[in-house]
């Protein structure tokens, strides 16, 4: 009894418990669907069926098994998302730097950053494709725009949150602007910078998959629309759904891990809090 009580207080146990509940609900649903529908794998297949399709050795297009095909396409999607993410991060950081250094730049750019946040960039995907006429370019551009503004706004907030005392201390040391930024401003804005990255990493992935669906070729999105049209086993569709969910979640967690490695001082702070 006391073991159970202790377990119920543990955070991990409760998370796992909820995942188990979700799996049970899914399986009950799958059983009901299997009993009532003609093609249950379209609506809600058993999880075992999906896992089976992942490990199965049967080829679906002559040369590749389902999972090989999904992974190959995933690689293409992720690599393009990464390029866009990288460009967007760099641009966002540089803009934030300029905005904090030059008041005029901030005044001009900040309202537009707010507006970008409100307008649906992903909805503009087909148009950017029409302008660039190149699917990989448009994918990179959209991923970059989506990455750019959370990074810029959060990093700017980080620059602004630097304590005044630190700023004054550096000035009293007669530190140059360059030193001021490299020694105080940039290190202290890193946690904010990572907040931006955590928001934008899953968005970059979503953008990349979505742009894939606009044109044939290679990429998770293309495969998704082909599988939806019934060109191949429905299990490919489910593999893609789970894989893209996993990539989205993983990209978010990965940013947290990188932050953990890069910011030892933050780690210490957390321990003190506990």
């Amino acid at each position: 009894m006391s073991v159970l009580k202790r377990l119920s207080k543990s955070k991990y146990f409760n998370t796992v418990l909820w995942i188990v509940i979700l799996i049970i609900v899914w399986e009950i649903g799958a059983t009901v669907v299997a009993a009532t529908k003609r093609s249950p794998e379209n609506i809600l297949p058993h999880l075992s069926g999906i896992i089976e399709s992942v490990v199965s050795k049967d080829t679906i297009n002559g040369s590749q098994t389902a999972v090989q095909m999904v992974l190959e396409n995933a690689k293409a999607t992720i690599s393009r998302a990464l390029v866009g993410f990288g460009i967007g991060t760099a641009l966002g950081f540089v803009l934030a730097l300029f905005m904090s250094r030059f008041k005029t730049v901030e005044k001009i750019a900040f309202p537009y950053l707010m507006i970008i946040q409100m307008i649906p960039i992903l909805g503009m995907a087909p148009l950017i494709f029409a302008i660039t006429q190149d699917i990989s370019k448009s994918r990179i551009i959209i991923a970059a725009i989506l990455t750019f503004y959370p990074v810029a706004t959060n990093t700017l907030a980080g620059f602004k949150a630097v304590e005044k005392e630190k700023h004054e201390l550096m000035i009293s040391y007669a530190a140059s602007k360059f030193q001021l930024y490299t020694k105080t401003m940039i290190p202290s804005c890193i946690p904010y910078f990572f907040t931006g990255l955590k928001i934008s990493a899953p968005m970059a992935i979503t953008a990349s998959i979505l742009v894939d669906t606009l044109q044939g070729g290679i990429g998770l999105g293309c495969l998704l629309s082909q599988a939806l049209k019934g060109a191949m086993s429905r299990y490919v569709f489910w593999q893609i759904v789970f894989l893209s969910a996993f990539i989205g979640i993983f990209s978010f967690l990965l940013m947290g891990i990188i932050e953990y490695i890069l910011c030892p001082y933050k780690r210490k702070g957390n321990k003190q809090e506990e």
């Binding site: 796992v16 379209n42 909805g123 087909p126 029409a130 899953p202 999105g221 893209s244």
Partner: protein, 272 residues
């Protein structure tokens, strides 16, 4: 005295320039776009990137068709936003009431937030096949459900913080009054959570617009602003595509402004 006047002058200049600079920048872009300089820079013709006045003209020409699609999209956004925020708030209340068990649920919900919309939309399309025999109805339900999931996640996390991060000793005070859980919720937790509700909405309003547009891409029934953007561009009707994009941007901006106004009204009363 003169120092004060100088200070006021400085503030005046600051506030004037912070309006003037972005407006001037906007006008500059507008003029460049209208005169076709933007087309040269982006190496596109005026067919793909029409001038703003032409887009506005097309918007007014097709106003009846646009408003039909607009109302379809707005239905999805509004109902999804309401349902998602309500469910998210309920999840947060549940997690506050049963802290250990409920917090696990919040962790799982926050993970849902990272799932790409592109993966959710087709799944909900499949699940809503039996809702109605009308394709338009079941597509709308599927789209609303996707928006609901996206909004629920951000609301639950923020509302949970609002319900639990109370002022020190306020909970002890309520306990000393022998207040039951319901009273604590009504008198203390709910009021404390209001600013957090708006924080959540500031995230979920823009993302509900995006989600609605993207889930229209996958919907069975061809309706809505997002679908029109895509369909018009795929048949090379770029100006019409731009008109719908302009509408989509307007939805996003207007909804955000309405939200800010509501935030002003509701949090002012509670700040005291």
């Amino acid at each position: 005295m003169s120092e004060k006047a100088l200070k006021r002058k400085k503030i005046d200049f600051n506030s004037v320039s912070s309006v003037l600079y972005p407006v001037l920048f906007g006008i500059l872009i507008f003029v460049l776009w209208e005169c076709g300089v933007l087309n040269t820079v982006l190496k596109t013709d005026t067919n793909i990137l029409p001038a703003p006045t032409r887009i506005a003209g097309i918007m007014s020409e097709n106003s009846s068709k646009i408003s039909e699609n607009l109302s379809a999209t707005m239905t999805v956004i509004i109902w999804g936003l309401i349902a998602g925020s309500f469910l998210g708030y309920m999840a947060a209340v549940f997690a506050t009431r049963f802290p250990n068990f409920g917090k696990g649920a919040l962790t799982v919900l926050s993970v849902f937030n990272a799932i790409p919309i592109v993966a959710l939309a087709p799944v909900f399309n499949n699940w809503t096949k039996d809702v109605s025999s009308e394709a338009s109805v079941r597509s709308t339900v599927a789209k609303i459900l996707v928006v609901t999931v996206v909004c629920a996640a951000s609301m639950s996390i923020n509302a949970y913080r609002g319900l639990t991060e109370l002022k020190p000793f306020s909970l002890d005070l309520m306990k000393s009054y022998a207040a039951d859980n319901m009273t604590v919720f009504k008198k203390l937790r709910f009021h404390n959570s209001i600013p957090y509700i708006f924080t959540a909405l500031k995230v979920s309003v823009p993302s509900s617009v995006i989600t609605a547009l993207v889930s229209e891409y996958f919907a069975e029934y061809r309706m809505g602003i997002g679908r029109q953007i895509r369909d018009n561009i795929s048949i090379a009707q770029y100006s019409a595509g731009w008109a719908y994009i302009a509408v989509a941007c307007l939805i996003g901006i207007l909804m955000y402004i309405i939200l800010i106004i509501f935030e002003g009204i509701f949090t002012k009363r509670h700040r005291k």
